[in-house]
């Protein structure tokens, strides 16, 4: 049985214009599908990467899996149990098993709590251990994330650097020994020169403490060596899925190919190819008929604008892609 089983997960938001707007300009209620029909499974010990740009729904998906937002449709099963059916109490017990590391190291910490209290908050709230045992575990956790407990336990967030704060965030998530950790862009707000260190820390802890990871980012390059499977999201849907290496070596979906081509390279002599994509369409809110990527796709043909494609295995079995032209692209 998979650790996490996500099926047809969707999240819809409704935009309700004011009464005045409705009367004067006939604006109707609009629905945004932030996440549409997302399906994947995660086994124990696996690291799954989710890549996509802002607005693609990756953060919303994380929030739903962490139980912070209710899904509009679909199921999330953790060890076979449907978390949508959880009441408040069950949901809090769920927190012990599934935790989340946030993107902004400063905003995700309570400015008035010292490091020790910050990390101990989870176990205390869940009533996991006695105070004495909590102290032991918290201090050991701080050491494990590279923050010498004696020096750091009484510090406040504003007294620490971004990297240190993020380590506190990691410690807070891991102290209750979850089985699944969702990392929502944990590195994007850190200096580049320390990102690798934090990522390696996470990787090492995942192996040692044996938890699975869902690693969300818009940066593909940092995922290498850490992530096993990969999901590429665009406007709320999975457009490509497979193992990290096969997707990077051989991207099937035009969006994935464009993403890979667009990553800036730190070499002044390198002349990058222009990504094969139509530029800058203003944010589409209304649901379109057909493939959501079609307006930007240079290879779009008639069917692409009419019918939304399904996610299906492409030529090689390791990948699945959501594209009408999957058999033509190799």
């Amino acid at each position: 049985m998979a650790l996490l089983d996500v099926n047809s997960l969707s999240k819809r938001y409704e935009l309700r214009p004011s009464v005045l707007a409705r009367v004067l300009s006939g604006k109707r209620m609009r629905r945004i599908e932030a996440v549409r029909d997302v399906t994947f499974a995660l086994n124990e010990g696996e690291v799954l990467g989710i890549v996509g740009e802002s607005g693609c729904g990756k953060s919303t998906t994380c929030a739903m899996i962490a139980g912070l937002e209710p899904p509009s449709a679909g199921t999330i099963r953790f060890r076979g149990q449907d978390i949508g059916a959880f009441g408040a109490k069950a949901l809090r017990r769920y927190r012990r098993h599934v935790q989340i590391i946030f993107q902004d190291p400063f905003e995700s910490l309570n400015p008035r709590l010292q490091v020790f209290d910050q990390v101990a908050e989870g176990p205390r709230a869940l009533g996991l251990w006695s105070e004495a045992e909590t102290e032991q575990r918290v201090l050991r956790m701080l050491a494990d994330v590279g923050l010498p407990p004696a020096a750091y336990r009484n510090r406040f967030p504003h007294q620490m650097s971004g990297g240190e704060r993020q380590r506190v965030g990691i410690a807070s998530a891991l102290v209750s020994e979850p089985e699944l950790v969702i990392a929502d862009e944990p590195l994007s707000m850190l200096d580049v020169s320390i990102r690798a260190g934090i990522r390696d820390l996470l990787s090492e802890l995942a192996k040692r403490r044996r938890f699975s990871v869902i690693y969300v980012s818009h940066d593909l390059s940092i995922m290498k060596g850490f992530v096993h499977g990969l999901i590429v999201m665009y406007l709320g849907q999975i457009v490509e899925a497979g193992t990290f290496s096969s997707i990077v070596a051989n991207p099937q979906h035009p969006y994935t190919a464009a993403l890979l081509a667009a990553v800036p390279v730190p070499d002044p002599l390198f002349r990058r190819a222009v990504p094969d994509i139509v530029d800058d369409v203003a944010r589409p809110l209304a649901s379109l008929a057909g493939c959501r990527f079609a307006p930007r796709c240079r290879q779009a043909v008639d069917i692409c604008h009419r019918e939304p494609p399904e996610l299906a295995a492409s030529g090689n079995a390791a990948q699945s892609v959501r594209c009408h032209l999957r058999h033509r692209l190799q």
């Binding site: 971004g162 990102r195 060596g225 730190p266």
Partner: protein, 337 residues
Amino acid sequence: MTVLEAVNLRVVYHTAEGPLQAVDDVSFQVEGHDIFGIAGESGSGKSTLMKLLLRLLPVTAEVSADRLRYRGHDLLAMDDRSFRRQILWKEISLVPQTAQNALNPVYRVGDQIMEAIQAHSTMSRRAARLRVAELFDIVGLEDRLAESYPHQFSGGMRQRAMIAMSLALDPGLIIMDEPTTGLDVLTQERILRNLRQMHAKMRSAIILVTHDIAVIAELCSHVGIMYAGRLVEQGPVRAMFQAPFHPYTLGLKNAFPDIREMDRKLISIPGSPPHLAPGARSCSFAARCPFVLPECRDARPRMQDVEAGHQVACTRAGEAEELRRLARERETWRSSM
């Protein structure tokens, strides 16, 4: 001609915890049509430096400099009023970060640019409108978008509108603050490509402040690397990337991912940047440098020329070959603290 000549710029913040040297004797020059990058991470002082040039620092900041000239004009001698009237937007302009929402949400984009134009020049409204059309063309926005409001623009379009505004009065120097941070990879790529094209058509020099080395590699002709308020290395971009001298630059190269070589293991620089008090008598990077020697802590290294136009502030600049080789090993960077 030399667009900007800066010698020994200094900024000290007076905080509740004591004085903080945010910018420490920074000197550089920007020539005619350069794109000069100022690279640095948090605490490097690059934002403070930028604010200094635009006179946006708070009153609690103590600013001093030996020389600061724009096209030969002494900027230090100017008072704030003359600076605002004669220099700001006309000669030196700014493209702020997209995240800063610099556009007023209740006014149309075109109107905002026209307002900026008319506030700093004697152009009539009609002339200003024509100029907006011109600018939109340069940055690649459709003219009809001038009638739209900022919320109707995507992030990339807003960035381009800000660039248009900065170009409005044909300045000699444009300062760009993190032009691509916070934007999607695809939008970022588009902006970078556009900037290259735009720059070719413009007469302005650009100072680009960023933490993203890849952006520097793609756009800049010259770069200065800042660390803890000091300029540690500067020179032409090609030379800097092919053969860097300073240990911090070497560390940055190691830590920066390259999608072409994803198998390369990234190496972090352990530790975090210091907050230096004024008059610190050591190399600012000493605490984290894997090649540190006792003399590095005793005296501040001087900026020396290593090649034409390429300068480094490091006592071990002469051993650069060897240091570069060592820097590639992971072991070198293990807890140099």
